[in-house]
Amino acid sequence: MLAYTFKRLLALVPTLLAASVLVFLFVHLIPGDPAAVLLGDSATPEDVARLSREMGLDRPIYVQYFIWLGHALQGDFGTSVFFRTPVMDVIAGGAETSILLAVLTMIWIIILGIPIGVMSATRHGSWVDQLASGGAMLFASVPTFWLGLYLILIFAVWLGWFPSSGFPSIHEEGGLLNLRYLLLPSLTLAAPNAALIIRLVRASMLDVQREDHVRTARAKGLHPARVAIKHVFRNALISVAAAFGFTFAALISEAVVTETVFSLPGVGQLVVQSILRRDYPVIQGVILVIVCLYMVINLIVDLAYAWLDPRVSLK
């Protein structure tokens, strides 16, 4: 298992390197110049060219790439053009929001997705099941930003129960209570993903119920609830674990939109805003960190899958 893990980790390196070239190329091919964005409307092209030179943006792109890669390998992603602070600090600033948002969302997904999915499967075909499956499919079809806008309208503006937007750090005044700022966003983000998990849990439980060892357990006269929990639910967990990888990817993608709607200072907003500002070092840094994280999580999911399900062999 250890050797296998190591081998898989090693295989990530060329992919990561290729991804870094791709990111760098994409980012630098985007028309526009951070110097022009910084200086604003009244700047003349000569002003912009002068600042561009001062910032070293007029060097050939491959030179810039190798300089950047050299630093990146030592963990230094450069300095943000816009904030004039190290990119790592800028990312770290957004990470708190993003991580907390992801954790809260996962909690929603689990406490909504698994029980409803299990309930739906155990009462397969009943009206409960039909309602749950239909509802899940409906929520999976809602654009997150649309849901977010209406949640703000209802719960923040009309009812005034939750803050409408923003997120002061939990280290600020208010402490953990500040998590209430993330309740609506996490719910928005959780809705389509919980819906996917509901359907997944339901489907995999139905599959398992048809399998031999479950029939045997039932035939042995075990209590149906015990069968449901011990045999069926455990198998459902496997599929949930497998779904974790793509759920995480969806979280990152959809978080970009959700963070925009709720003005959250997370990594997703950072990407969007940095693209608008042409803050090359930040875009490169953030995307690379996300790609890294994504690949590692997928690897962990694969390993966990292998560990949970003895039928999968390590090839």
């Binding site: 022009a36 604003g40 009244s42 904030f83 129960w161 803050p163 003005s263 042409r278």
Partner: protein, 513 residues
């Protein structure tokens, strides 16, 4: 069912959380901005957002009173020699920087020099400066090549202007904005920290020495009533509005016109209309393309457009816009109707005839606009329709702002582009007056008038020359003004001391909660 009761209790718990946490310190002002400022270095950055934040911590030698006339801020007074070529400025004594050091003429000298060489509006003044030196611990003497009328206005305009920094932070400073750790000024608030994507924090500067006199515009006494100012980027308009209504922010800027009626009637928010309008500009390419020097064709385009529907669509309620052809608003000393009869003809038939006479044969005209500013985009859509009706072949190209400002620097990529201009106290600061601003309007007629305009320091004469320049703009059409837009902000009714209208940028000294 179980799930239902669970959900219910979750909602209740959430509601409880929401209630207990809302007691916030009153010593903090939370200002929802449209985004993040590019940098707060006032000398090189011209973003209005940057100035909104930075003018609480940086000060210049002069500032503006409520009638947009320059008054001393860090200066104590000045004298101009009889020939108009030597200016001696006395500095206020006892003023200290946020790092505790006293402000002296060495700091002012270093600041003016850096601004003159690298500042975004510095060259306007310094192209005319022979020499500048410190003639005492608190005295600066500027020698001009020729008398230069607008010098005090340029010094008082802090946006892209001569903010005074300590000489120590300016060593080696160039075009690149200074780093946040060097944000050291003399203002009532000092820089505390900048959490990217979260907020910019300013805190009260206890060692602040205010100028004397009744507050008047930005002049007079300044008192920092808040402990802390937070400028929080909230990109989404709807969220900014909801946030002020819900009490999460005390102040929010840049609210769309269509919400004005509702918000004005809403007791939970106060609307504050900006006193100085901004205006849209459609620049034409004087360097390349079909519009290069075909003034007749440009006049045909100008004739085809009716500015009113564009203002209705892009801004909304009548109170918030004015179809005003003068580059300076009514009531301002620079207001003039010269040439303005051609401002908004909206005559498709006449335009068609004029275009034909100008030799136009349906060549495509590339019109660039950005979606980052909805009012640009909305207006451009209306203009494109009107121009099409007058037989023009408009190729509307929609970009994000960063792409647009990149492309407009390349003369072969465009024929017209849309931008807007903030209020400026002196017409010399309007971008079309700058020969190297994209569009590159630099005809001999302009050069002659501009030379006369800056050489004179007699206000009445300068106003007369400006009227001639404006008439020339309507004749050669280097740019088309689209009308005055009065933006507005919203504030919590709890804020005390807010003026009913903002002069240029909202200011929060003398304001409390």
């Amino acid at each position: 069912m179980k799930l239902k009761t669970w959900l219910k209790s979750a909602v209740m718990a959430g509601a409880l959380l929401a209630c207990t946490g809302s007691a916030m310190a009153d010593g903090m002002l939370r200002y929802a901005t449209v985004g993040e400022p590019p940098s707060l270095d006032q000398q090189v950055i011209t973003s209005d957002l940057a100035t909104t934040i930075a003018h609480h911590m940086f000060e210049g030698l002069y500032t503006f009173n409520s009638s947009n006339a320059p008054v001393p801020l860090l200066a104590a007074g000045d004298e101009t020699s009889a020939d108009g070529k030597t200016i001696t400025i006395k500095l206020r004594e006892g003023v200290s920087f946020h790092n505790g050091e006293p402000m002296t003429s060495a700091d002012v000298l270093a600041s003016l020099k850096r601004w003159g060489e690298f500042g975004s509006r510095g060259a306007l003044l310094f192209d005319n400066v022979e020499s500048i030196e410190a003639t005492g611990d608190h005295e600066i003497t500027i020698k001009l090549k020729a008398p230069f009328g607008p010098w005090k206005n340029l010094m008082a305009f802090i946006n892209g202007g001569p903010a005074i920094y300590p000489a120590s932070v300016l060593a080696g400073a160039g075009k690149e904005p200074i780093a946040p750790e060097s944000y050291i000024g003399t203002g009532p608030y000092k820089f505390s920290k900048w959490e990217p994507n979260r907020y910019v924090e300013l805190v009260r500067y206890d060692g602040y020495v205010s100028p004397e006199g009744e507050p008047d515009g930005y002049g007079g006494k300044r008192v920092a009533e808040f402990d802390t100012l937070h400028f929080i980027p909230v990109a989404d308009v709807g969220t900014r509005v909801a946030g002020v209504r819900a009490g999460d922010y005390d102040y929010a800027e840049s609210i769309p016109g269509d919400l004005f009626a509702d918000l004005d009637a809403d007791a939970s928010v106060k609307t504050i209309v900006n006193g100085s309008p901004l205006f849209g500009l459609v620049f034409m390419n004087s360097k390349e393309g079909p519009l290069k020097d075909n003034f007749a064709l440009r006049r045909a385009i100008q004739t085809a457009i009716d500015k009113v529907p564009a203002l209705q669509v892009s801004i909304g309620p009548d109170q918030l816009w004015r179809a005003n052809g003068s580059f300076m608003p009514k009531g301002n000393v620079w207001y003039t109707e010269a040439g303005a009869e051609n401002f908004s003809k909206g005559d498709a038939e006449a335009a068609k005839a004029m275009a034909k006479e100008a030799g136009y044969n349906g060549e495509p005209i590339k019109f660039m606009v950005s979606t980052n500013y909805p009012f640009h985009y909305d207006s451009a859509i209306v203009y494109t329709k009107q121009l099409a009706q007058a037989g023009f072949n408009i190729d509307l190209q929609v970009y994000d702002w960063a792409t647009l400002i990149d492309k407009r620097g390349k003369a072969d990529q465009w024929d017209m582009f849309f931008t807007h201009h903030g209020f400026v106290p002196d017409p010399i600061l309007i971008s079309v007056m700058n020969d190297s601003y994209p569009g590159w309007w630099a005809t001999p007629e302009k050069a002659a008038l501009k030379a006369k305009f800056t050489a004179s320091s007699d206000p009445a004469e300068r106003e007369k020359i400006w009227a001639e320049i404006q008439a020339l703009i309507y004749e050669q059409v280097p740019t088309m003004k689209t009308g005055d837009v009065y933006t507005y902000n919203i504030a919590s009714p709890k804020l005390k001391g807010l003026a009913d209208a903002t002069l240029i940028w909202p200011a929060f000294w003398n304001v409390s909660k």
